[in-house]
Each structure stands twice: as structure tokens, then as C-alpha cells.
């Protein structure tokens, strides 16, 4: 299990004569159990890459720790043996051809599997003897991902690894990952902006905003913590304040005339109980897609709402 405990990563800079600290990650705590696929979601600049690099032992947290099966990962060869970070910037590998990349990978993981590497390269039909820098952007990324998967580490961190791949290739790569998980019990953490993809491929997720954890846990649990409600007012129109007074946390509210649409947090029972207190003639609730959860939770934090001046 990967345990991230109270991790804070800050960048210090000198501004004039003052020292300024900018926290890329602020007290992040969550865990990735074995055998799960965890999706890392976040707003732009939320710290997803920073978090993944810290988990991979590339950054050292200023406070807190990341442990892999109980061992701190920073500068610990033994712990790093069980985890591999495939970054979003992979130009370092571009000096090799695919065949050379295999030899390179063999050098630094005892668990590296030539057979798996070859199989995946053939499945994706990547040319073997061309320098990787000559391949298309998607192919380059695939090569790096294959390197990571072929290392057969217990934990695999994929940072935006599907970027630049067409839908068919994304599916192929995901199938490769599934094989890996089932055959070798690997756990994967992937970061992506494609929420649909995360909701298909992952069973757990972590939502980050400005370096802080907004949500973490199983996707199914998180999705059903929020609901969309549509209310038709009775004698008076429904307002946001009324919902708040009924004990509901409102993330977003839009009302035209007597019809009000709101996004609230709470399970189905809680929301129904709250609505029951309101003077409405009609009430409907529905769950949200993961993408909607993302958008509205963020709006609730003041992110992503275009200011119309109203």
C-alpha cells in the first residue's frame, strides 16, 4: 500500500529581500491499497504531477512522508524498487531506439520482463529500430508507458500517459494495464484530465485543488455523495438560502422563476430528508456523472465559474 501522510511540498523563492513560500502540496493524506487503480484528478496546477513525483521518490516532501509498504520512499533504493514513475516529460528516453530502451530497462529492474516488453511493442506496432525521437508524439508516450509496465513493479505511476493517444490506442494501453494488474497484482495510479476515462478505468480517485485534497476514496462512494436537485417552488420561489437553511450544502444554484436547479452534497437519503423540509410542489433528484462532480465541486470552491457580473 502506498501511504501518503501529511505531505507538504513547497517552493521557496527570494523576492527582493523576503523569502516567499509557495505550497505546491499542502498536507496531503491518502492511500492507495494494493490491487487498485487510483485516478488523480485536479484543476490545472493543482499539484498532480508534484504529488506523483513525490510518491515516486523524485521530490522530497518538506513535511510528511510517502511510504511504500511501510518503507519511506525518499532516497531508498529498496522502496523505489517497487514503484516506477513514468513522467509526462519523457524526452530523456528519446535518445534510444525501442530495442535499446529494452536493454536500458533491463539494467535497472530485476523484475523487468523482456517478453512483456516485446509483446506490448508488437501489439502497438511500434518500430523497433528507429530512434524514439523520430516517432510521433503518441508513439513516444506509448514507448515510455510500455517501459514502465514491463518493469513489473508493484506500483506504477503514470503521469498523463494517455496524452496524445487516439481513442483506439488508449483502449489498447488500458487493456495492457489490466493484464498487468491481473497477472502481476500491480497497482496503478494515473493522472488525467479526462474524467470519463478515470471513471471507467479507476476504482479509486483523488481530487486535488491548489495543492489540497478535496476528495479521496472509492469513485462510487464519492459520486454518490453529491446530487442534482430540481425543485419547483410552491407559494414562493426556492432560493439558495432556503436550501442552506434546510441543512443542505449547496455547491451551485440556478433559479429561473419558480424552477430551481441546484447541486448539493449529500447522499440520496440526506438530500431527500432536506428537501422534505422545503415548501416545494415538485422535487426531483438525480446522481451526477464524475465529470459533473468535478466541475461543481470546484465551482463550490470558486473555481471555474465565469463571472457574469451578476
Amino acid at each position: 500500500m502506498i501511504e501518503v501522510n501529511g505531505v507538504t511540498v513547497a517552493y521557496t523563492s527570494l523576492r527582493g529581500l523576503r523569502v516567499v513560500q509557495n505550497k505546491a502540496l499542502d498536507d496531503v493524506t491518502f492511500s492507495v491499497p494494493e490491487g487498485s487503480v487510483c485516478g488523480l484528478l485536479g484543476t490545472n496546477g493543482a499539484g498532480k504531477s508534484t504529488l506523483m513525483r513525490t510518491m515516486g521518490g523524485i521530490f522530497r516532501p518538506d513535511s510528511g512522508s510517502v511510504s511504500i509498504d511501510g518503507r519511506d520512499v525518499w532516497d531508498n533504493a529498496e522502496a523505489k524498487n517497487d514503484i516506477f514513475y513514468v513522467g509526462d516529460e519523457i524526452s530523456w528516453y528519446e535518445r534510444f531506439t525501442v530495442e535499446e530502451l529494452k536493454a536500458y530497462g533491463r539494467n535497472f529492474r530485476a523484475s523487468f520482463s523482456d517478453e512483456a516488453f516485446d509483446r506490448m511493442i508488437n501489439a502497438l506496432e511500434l518500430p523497433k529500430n528507429q530512434k524514439i525521437s523520430r516517432l510521433s508524439k503518441g508513439m513516444r508516450r506509448q514507448a515510455a508507458t510500455i517501459l514502465g509496465v514491463a518493469c513489473r513493479t508493484k506500483y506504477l505511476l503514470l503521469d498523463e500517459s494517455f496524452d496524445g493517444l487516439d481513442p483506439a490506442m488508449r483502449r489498447v494501453v488500458r487493456e495492457m494495464l489490466i493484464d498487468e494488474m491481473c497477472d502481476n497484482g500491480a497497482s496503478v495510479v494515473l493522472s488525467s484530465h479526462n474524467v470519463t476515462e478515470i471513471s471507467e478505468a479507476c476504482d479509486r480517485m483523488l481530487l486535488l485543488h491548489a495543492g489540497k485534497v478535496v476528495e479521496s476514496g472509492e469513485i462510487d462512494e464519492i459520486r454518490y455523495k453529491y446530487r442534482r436537485v430540481q425543485l419547483v417552488g410552491g407559494e414562493e420561489n426556492v432560493t439558495r438560502e432556503m436550501l442552506a437553511k434546510a441543512g443542505l450544502t449547496v455547491l451551485d444554484f440556478a433559479g429561473t422563476g419558480s424552477i430551481a436547479q441546484a447541486i448539493v452534497s449529500g447522499t440520496e437519503e440526506e438530500v431527500k430528508a432536506g428537501i422534505a423540509k422545503l415548501p416545494v410542489s415538485l422535487a426531483e433528484t438525480a446522481p451526477l456523472s464524475l465529470e459533473e462532480v468535478f466541475i461543481y465541486v470546484m465551482r463550490g470552491k470558486g473555481y471555474g465559474k465565469i463571472n457574469t457580473g451578476k
Binding site: 521530490f59 533504493a77 523505489k80 536500458y104 539494467n107
Partner: protein
């Protein structure tokens, strides 16, 4: 070596070598070219000695610069995000990674230089034997090759420590190329030589050269660099490891030290200003975008350094001015003084040496560079008695008399005669109206504990007058032999 830097069945050295195939080949080519230039710089064509010092300079430059590029690429994880991501994800401790990188540089650069030069020199030795005459000056080539090796070793370890500490490209360029270049580099060598000199009490008994100096200093620098490198965090990529303020202070100290190592002369103001300008320029290059914001702080630092330097310089100037100047000049110009005095050699040596370091001398650094370059191009002569024995006191005096006469007859400035003597007999360098003489005198005086062996070397190019001068010396009954240049 591979076994000792293996962890978890990881082969860090092997992957270091694999990852840099292109640059390895380029460096090998560069080293081969340098080795070729090295053996070609001094030899004989149809019996006539040829000497092309510029080949040697190019050989140094090529070998050193290619080494710096190689080192820079090996330590790419200090400044390149993608290299850092790839390398820090490998299950290897920072220390192992560091040693693997050092080992890879050692193999691809240092060992390669030794091997390639050995091959080239070996081939030339065979050629010499086949041809019957000395086409290539083997001894010279060996010494030059060892100097090249020393330079490369030094440049590499300076590049390593710069990268470990700064991770910025500008810093590497400046420190690596600048100090790895002949001029800046020789300065460090000179300082180091003084340092090692004072440690081992060099009195001609210990031959110190560039390679030895760097072999001593390199492990020290690399250990410090290692300590810094290991503490680097992924976040330091492309940045200085410590706070900026710490770096300002450190560079300030370096500049101050450099300024202090110059003696006060009529060129001091030039040195000071150019150093300050240089400091500003480097500072701007390194911190371009932030430079404007942090200007007040930087200015404060510069002003402090300058004031410190001025204070020290004034102090030295005041404390030395007028004390030894005229007295020593007189002492040197009067031959009787230092022959009659029983302790003449010691006092004279002391005075002369002090004089040589006096404010009135030329820039020590600049002239050392010139002298070093000249030493590669000017011939050196050993002057002994007719029977080959070394000079004793009287003969030494006689030699000085010959020199004095010669200089007088050839209208070398009288007031500089003392300088010339000091220069000749204690190694200070000077340039007098474009006339420079070069020869080396080995003399030994005294017995037992007072035995005083001096090998003083002065490098002066006297152009077409050298043969005359040497003839005069021979007429006086001495024997002149052309010697292989060995640096002090």
C-alpha cells in the same frame, strides 16, 4: 567496480554508459584529435627542430572542452527535468548514482585520455625508431599529455561541483568553460601550486606539476560535490541548491579572494573594475529575470566587497610602500654586497623574493600566464661548469656579472637591472621593453643543514639576442645545455 556499485541487481554504471553513447564517441574523437595535436606539437622535421606550441594549446582546449560537455551531459539530472524524472525513478541511492556517474566520466574521459595518448605516443616512439631520428619529441609529449590530463581532471571536477551546487546552465558555462579554459584554469593551478608548495616546503626537492596538483585537489572537490549532490532534491533541478543569499555571499568571497591575490600595482584599478563588471555580468546572466527585482541586494553585496578590498589594499600599500624598495634595489645592484656577506644567499633570497612581490611588479597573474605560455615556447638552458658540476658562489657571482655586463652593454634600463636579476634568480616575471631572456640556473651553496639548492627559473624571450647572451656565458667558461622544460 561494477560490483561495488550495484544495488538490487541494478547496474548503474552500465546504464550510465548506455545512456550516453553519442557523447562518448564524440569525446573519444576529440581526445584522439587532441592526442594527435599533442604529439605533433614538438619534434623534428629533417633534423630541424619544430615547435608549434599552438598545437598544444588547441589540444588542451579540445580535450578540456569536450570533457566539460561530457560531464555536463552525465550530470544532466541537475538541470534537466526529463533526465531527473528518468533517473530518480530508478531504484538506486543518490550516493550510488553519484559514484556511477563519476565512474562513467572517469572511464570515458580520463581513462580514455591516458589510453589514447599512450597509443599515440607509443606509435610515435615506434616511428622514431624506424626513422632513426627523433621525429617526435617523446619526453615532451609525455609531459604535455600529463598536463592535459591534469587540466581535464581539474575541469571535470570543477564542472561537477558547479553542477551539483547550481544546476543552472549559465553557471556551468561560466565556471566550466571559463575556469576550464586555459587562462582561468591556470590561475587556479597557480594558487593551488602555492598552496601545495607551502605544505610540502618545496625547495627544489619535490617536482610538482599540474597533474599531481589536481590529483591531490580533485578528490577533495569531488567529495564536497558529492555531499552537495546527494542533498539535491528533485525540486532543485535547474536551480541553486542553497538559498540565493548563500550564493551571493559565496561568490562575493570568491571575488574578494581573487582581488586580494593581486598585488597592488598601477593596474589594480583596472583589475578591480573589470572584476566588478564581470561580477555584474555573471550575476545578470545567472538571474536574468529576477535580476531587476533583486538589484538592491546585489548592489549592497558588491559595495561591501569593494570596500573590503579597498580597505585591505590600502592597508597593504601603506604598510609596504617605501620600506624595501630602494634598499633592495641597491642591494641587488651592488655585487659586492651579496658576495661579501656570509649570509648573503639567504638574506638576498629573502629580500629579492619580497621585492619580487612588491607593489611595483606587474600583474602577477597575467604575467604568470604569459610566462607559462612562454615557458612552453622558449627554450631553457642549464648553465653548469665546464666539467658539468654545478656552480658555487663565486661562479654564481661571475655569472651574474656576465649578465650585468650584457644588460648594460645592450642598454637595458639600469633601474630595471635589479628587477631583471630578481626576476632571473627568483622566478618573478617581467616584461621589459619587449626584451625577455630565458634561462635557468641551478646552483647549490653551503653544506649540511645550510645547503641551499635553488632552481630558479625565469622566462624571458630575448628573441635574437639569446644566442649572443649564451655565447657570452660560454666565453666566461660555463657550459650551456638546452634543457627540457620542467615547470617549477
Amino acid at each position: 567496480m561494477e560490483k561495488s556499485i550495484r544495488e538490487n541487481d541494478v547496474h548503474p554504471l552500465r546504464y550510465e554508459l548506455q545512456a550516453h553513447k553519442t557523447s562518448t564517441i564524440l569525446v573519444l574523437v576529440a581526445i584522439a584529435v587532441a592526442a594527435f595535436l599533442n604529439v605533433g606539437s614538438r619534434g623534428a622535421v629533417n633534423g630541424d627542430p619544430t615547435d608549434t606550441p599552438v598545437f598544444y594549446l588547441f589540444a588542451i582546449a579540445i580535450a578540456v572542452i569536450s570533457g566539460i560537455i561530457l560531464t555536463r551531459e552525465t550530470f544532466a539530472d541537475t538541470y534537466q527535468v526529463t533526465a531527473r524524472d528518468a533517473q530518480y525513478a530508478i531504484p538506486v541511492n543518490a550516493r550510488t548514482r553519484y559514484f556511477a556517474k563519476l565512474a562513467s566520466i572517469l572511464l570515458r574521459h580520463i581513462a580514455a585520455i591516458i589510453l589514447v595518448n599512450a597509443v599515440f605516443i607509443g606509435v610515435c616512439a615506434v616511428l622514431n625508431v624506424c626513422a632513426g631520428t627523433e621525429i617526435v619529441d617523446i619526453k615532451y609529449s609525455v609531459i604535455q599529455a600529463s598536463d592535459i590530463l591534469g587540466f581535464c581532471l581539474g575541469a571535470d571536477c570543477l564542472t561537477v561541483i558547479t553542477m551539483a551546487c547550481t544546476g543552472t546552465v549559465a553557471a556551468q558555462v561560466i565556471f566550466g568553460f571559463g575556469i576550464g579554459s586555459v587562462a582561468g584554469f591556470y590561475w587556479i593551478y597557480a594558487v593551488a601550486l602555492e598552496f601545495v608548495d607551502s605544505l610540502f616546503g618545496f625547495e627544489g626537492a619535490f617536482e610538482c606539476n599540474g597533474l599531481i596538483v589536481w590529483c591531490v585537489i580533485a578528490p577533495l572537490i569531488l567529495t564536497i560535490a558529492g555531499g552537495v549532490y546527494i542533498r539535491r532534491d528533485g525540486r532543485h533541478t535547474g536551480k541553486f541548491i542553497a538559498g540565493r543569499a548563500a550564493w551571493e555571499v559565496l561568490t562575493a568571497c570568491v571575488i574578494l579572494f581573487m582581488e586580494l591575490s593581486f598585488t597592488l600595482s598601477e593596474y589594480t584599478w583596472l583589475v578591480m573594475i573589470s572584476l566588478l563588471v564581470g561580477f555584474f555580468a555573471v550575476h545578470y546572466l545567472l538571474f536574468r529575470e529576477k535580476a531587476r527585482k533583486e538589484l538592491p541586494f546585489a548592489i549592497a553585496v558588491y559595495i561591501t566587497i569593494t570596500l573590503l578590498f579597498l580597505a585591505f589594499a590600502l592597508f597593504r600599500y601603506a604598510s609596504t610602500r617605501g620600506k624595501f624598495y630602494s634598499k633592495d634595489r641597491n642591494a641587488l645592484e651592488s655585487g659586492e654586497y651579496w658576495i661579501d656577506n656570509e649570509d648573503w644567499n639567504n638574506e638576498w633570497w629573502r629580500n629579492a623574493r619580497r621585492y619580487a612581490n612588491e607593489p611595483d611588479c606587474e600583474l602577477m597573474i597575467g604575467s604568470r600566464i604569459l610566462s607559462w605560455i612562454d615557458s612552453r615556447s622558449s627554450d631553457e638552458y642549464h648553465i653548469t661548469n665546464a666539467d658539468g658540476s654545478l656552480l658555487n658562489e663565486e661562479q654564481y657571482a661571475k655569472l651574474v656579472g656576465v649578465l650585468r655586463d650584457f644588460c648594460e652593454n645592450n642598454e637595458i634600463r639600469k633601474d630595471s637591472f635589479g628587477d631583471v636579476l630578481a626576476f632571473i634568480f627568483c622566478g618573478a616575471d617581467s616584461n621589459y621593453e619587449g626584451i625577455e631572456l630565458g634561462f635557468q640556473v641551478t646552483a647549490s651553496f653551503g653544506e649540511g643543514r645550510n645547503a641551499h639548492r635553488e632552481r630558479c627559473t625565469g622566462y624571458i624571450l630575448y628573441e635574437d639576442r639569446v644566442p649572443d647572451f649564451l655565447k657570452k656565458i660560454e666565453d666566461a667558461g660555463f657550459v650551456v645545455q638546452r634543457a627540457i622544460n620542467t615547470r617549477r
